[in-house]
């Protein structure tokens, strides 16, 4: 019966696609092939077979597999442990090894052609998938790479390797080891880099090879912040990052990729801690030799910031192979548009060009570039102005202060005479007039501003989309909600940011922002009891819950679990009862208060 069913299934499935040969099993559970008339074409001698595809079928004898053609000739002898599907060019095969508890160990992999010719003899314990024409190979705990035409790209002699990144580079390690606890982390040994032509671009002789990344925004200490004036502190909070390429400190992990998104150069060092590093370009050119400076940053515009043992900064001119200046600065940035920001030991900021000429006045502060301009602060009266990316004055230092907004390309600025604020662009043009005593950064296209003693909201065009008539205002947490809470006397109201009008009439004594506890919902208090409302003010969970964050969150979670859109009063009442800590504290002789009962 089993034989009939099996044959029938194969007949139904494969009649339309391959009419010639059909897998067939005999009464001894041996498989072969028959034609459509039932004549045996391939003798029943196999434990299993697969149907013919492109003139080839896989057959099994014992624990081994082979490939036969339509005449039954074993193109690949049944001596392989595993034969993967034909990939259009060849078969990936495994041979040798031993099978224990149904699992194959210690096999070797290679490739055989369609006609059974050995292209790559089974010799690798692992062959990875081909990605962009390259696959890693492993043999006896050593790694290398082969190409799709199965030639050796990187010899299989390395203790660990990464994977080729999108730029065509891969790191290798010789003599290191994989951390036994975390088997992908590499320690020790020497690193180098190959390109996709199989060329060594960084010799395998460095204790550290890394890429570069942009320096993170400065984290000022509390001590430093306390020393700043409120004006400067406000600017520093949003200043962003100075242009500077520092070492990318990611640990080398097996099959990790080099991140060259910021720079195509390599950080190299012969010391395990990465000190006294040098820089090598992706074509193998040594840009800055190792052991010349205490530390070397990434090269930009042909110059690399370098530090000496006193932590003073200079610039290495890569093409000239010499230092830019005879004097060393306290600190500085990379070159950008031909200029670098430097700071001397007196704390003055200034620009230098690539001839080491000081091309700007000394300032008490120069910010990182934003919107193609720098904010500068005068040493004379601490007022602020703007310089363009070439160091030309866009706005003289007349404002107190200027601070960058988070979006919209605008800068908040305050007139020193009136103390009123407005917004200017990077050309110094006044976009939003100076009439506000306070303002926030722009977010999602609007900013909260205070005129006289009332709050409102302006858009990037300077229109007051919410009139400045509110006693208080709360910055939205979820900008997709288009709602903002504003206060009048004792109650908070919800305003629709698109229309500038109230989203709903009801005011609340206390509320939380939309999406703070539940997506698109706000928690509000009425008579000291909490509930949830949606963006239209509709009550989703009535105001019966205790004023407790975890209770509100739990109620919301339970509502979601029930799949209902909202709760009724009694649903909420019963939930609140279940969370009442006193419900199990009653005494036997007591008449329990009605408020403890759910029915």
């Amino acid at each position: 019966m089993k034989k009939i069913i099996a044959s029938l299934i194969f007949t139904i499935i494969f009649t339309t696609s391959y009419a010639q040969l059909i897998p067939d099993v005999n009464n001894k559970d041996k498989w072969g092939f028959v034609d459509s008339l039932g004549n045996v074409v391939v003798k029943h001698k196999y434990n299993s077979v697969t149907p013919f595809v492109n003139g080839r079928a896989k057959v099994q004898k014992g624990d081994n597999y082979g490939i036969i053609d339509e005449m039954g000739v074993e193109v690949l002898k049944t001596s392989y442990r595993i034969i993967e599907d034909y990939n259009g060019k060849c078969y990936k095969v495994a041979s040798g090894g031993k099978i224990k508890d149904g699992v194959l160990f210690d096999e070797n992999w290679g490739f055989i052609s369609y006609d059974g010719e050995v292209i790559l003899a089974p010799q690798y314990s692992k062959i990875g998938d081909f990605i962009d024409g390259v696959a890693y190979v492993q043999s006896k705990n050593k790694y290398g790479f082969i190409t799709e035409d199965l030639s050796v790209l990187v010899p299989c002699i390395y203790s660990a390797v990464g994977l080729f990144n999108e730029y065509g580079y891969v790191w290798v390690n010789k003599g290191g080891r994989l951390d036994s606890e975390n088997s992908t982390q590499v320690t020790g040994g020497k690193y180098g880099v190959y390109n996709k032509r199989g060329e060594v671009v960084v010799p395998v002789e460095y204790a550290v090879v890394a890429t570069f990344k942009l320096k993170e925004p400065t984290q000022y200490t509390q001590k430093e912040l306390k020393k700043m004036s409120s004006m400067v502190k406000r600017v520093r909070e949003d200043e962003g990052s100075y242009r500077f390429l520092e070492r990318n400190n990611e640990m080398m992990r097996l099959f990790g990729k080099l991140d060259m998104s910021v720079s195509y150069d390599f950080f190299v060092s012969t010391r395990a801690d990465g000190s006294n590093n040098g820089v090598i370009a992706s074509d193998g050119t040594i840009l800055v030799p190792v052991n010349m400076f205490d530390a070397v940053a990434g090269v930009e515009e042909g110059f690399a910031p370098v530090y000496n043992s006193s932590r003073r900064l200079n610039y290495w001119n890569v093409s000239q192979g010499e230092l830019l200046s005879s004097a060393w600065y306290a600190d500085g940035t990379s070159f950008q548009n031909g200029l670098a920001i430097c700071r001397n030991k007196s704390g003055d900021y200034f620009f230098i060009d690539q001839n080491n000429k000081v091309v700007s006045p000394h300032y008490s502060y120069i910010s990182p570039m934003k919107e193609d301009v720098y904010i500068v602060q005068s040493k004379v009266d601490n007022k602020m102005g703007l310089l363009d990316k070439y160091g030309n004055v866009v706005v003289e230092p007349i404002y107190a202060p200027i601070y960058p907004t988070t979006e919209g390309g605008l800068f908040g600025a305050f007139e020193s005479e009136t103390g009123l604020g407005g917004y200017i662009n990077n050309k110094g043009e006044v976009v939003i007039p100076f009439r506000y005593v306070r303002g926030s950064s722009f977010k999602n296209g609007y900013s909260m501003v205070k005129r006289d003693s009332h709050w409102g909201v302006v858009n990037l065009q300077g229109q007051e989309i919410v009139e400045c008539k509110w006693d208080d205002i709360l910055a939205p947490q979820d900008t997709s909600v288009n709602r903002i809470w504003v206060k009048n006397a004792d109650l908070w109201y919800c305003v629709d940011l698109k229309t500038g009008t109230l989203a709903f009439d009801k005011g609340y004594e206390t509320m939380s922002n939309y999406s703070r506890f539940a997506p698109m919902l706000a928690c509000v208090l009425v008579d000291g009891k909490a509930g949830l409302i949606d963006v239209n003010g509709d009550v989703i969970i009535p105001f019966i819950l205790d004023n407790n964050v975890s209770v509100v969150k739990e109620a919301y979670a339970m509502l979601m679990n029930t799949g209902r859109a909202k709760w009724t009063d009694v649903d909420t009442y019963r939930f609140a009862l279940k969370n009442n800590k006193n419900r199990h504290k009653s005494k036997l002789y007591q008449t329990i208060d009605e408020t403890m009962w759910d029915y």
Partner: protein, 401 residues
Amino acid sequence: MKRYCLLLLTIAMAAVVNAQQLQDEFSYRRSSLYSILVCHSEDKFHKEITDEFLKVPIPDKYNDFDLNVKVVNVSRKDKYTDAITDFVDRNNIGSRLVARWFNRNILTGECDMELVKLRGLYDASAFDYELASRTPRGLAMLQDAGEDLIANTFLLVNEITYIDKAEGAKTAATVLSILGGVVGAATGMDYVSDLGNTAASMVATIKGFRVKIHSRLYQLDWNDAIANEFYEFYYSDLPDEQKKMAFENNRGNFKMKYVGDVVSKGSLTSFLGINEDQPELMIRKACQRAIDENIVDLQKKYNQFKVKAPVISTSPTITAPIGMKEGVTSASRFEVLEVLEKDGRIEYKKVGVVKPVPGMIWDNRFMASEEGAVGADLGATTFIKVSGREFYPGMLIREIE
């Protein structure tokens, strides 16, 4: 007489049915149970006992009919039967269970019949139609719901006392906390210090952990007269302030009848399969096993409290998902009931008797598997026919004397 086959009803009510679903989801009418703990706050581990009691589910042979209040406290040893009955009456528990049957909104007084329809396994739209049309069949369905469902609503009050192995039978109220806590009687406080109940002291003590449970059973008093009063004066499917207030003012008309009590033996529970770092599981096991045993004893004593279980297969053997937890032994005998529906009323017709096959009794007591108990992995008890005609899955069995 129309044959009312629960098996077919299950098929009708489910969108897609397969054999496994039938085995898992046999629908039949169950009695309803509300379970309360009387906690002795003067006892060691009273907090842990309360916590673990709250985790004990209503046995699956009953509908869960718990109300919000599950624990009441006492602070000394005494005979509490009258006090418990008085508590039940004073707090109008009967009215609350009635309110639960009709899903009464405590804020507005609105009621509905959804739970009655669900638990009674009625065809929902047929029920609504018959009722709305006030047909004799509709009236019969309502009476049937009253007799077979609402009247089979029970309250089980479990008074749990911890038996301190160090003190033997002495009451814990006379034991001073050795860590400086003050006895409640001396200061008027209700609770002694918990300082003795550290995890270490608990584990050290737990190996002799025993509880004595005195279970008292009450049944909701529900008959035609009471039902009529409810439907006429208090039931409303729309907000009705007058009916709401009328019910609130007349809660005392709905009473619980005292049925009887049993006291557990207070024997030692095996803690096989429980790690020492889970002392709370030991407490749970001791409590749950004792409660289950008390329920079995109550069922034996009081017929109205007996449970039914569905026959889930008859070929090749008769099996039912009932076992040692329900007190099944090799000496048990069960009547086999065919469920029939006539003119809107459910009747149970005895069609035979079965008895358990020795060695094939399912040990479904709490943590039987972890204990490695024999029969824990059976999943159901196997029975053989003693007398009667052909049985089919969906029939019910109920233990007989």
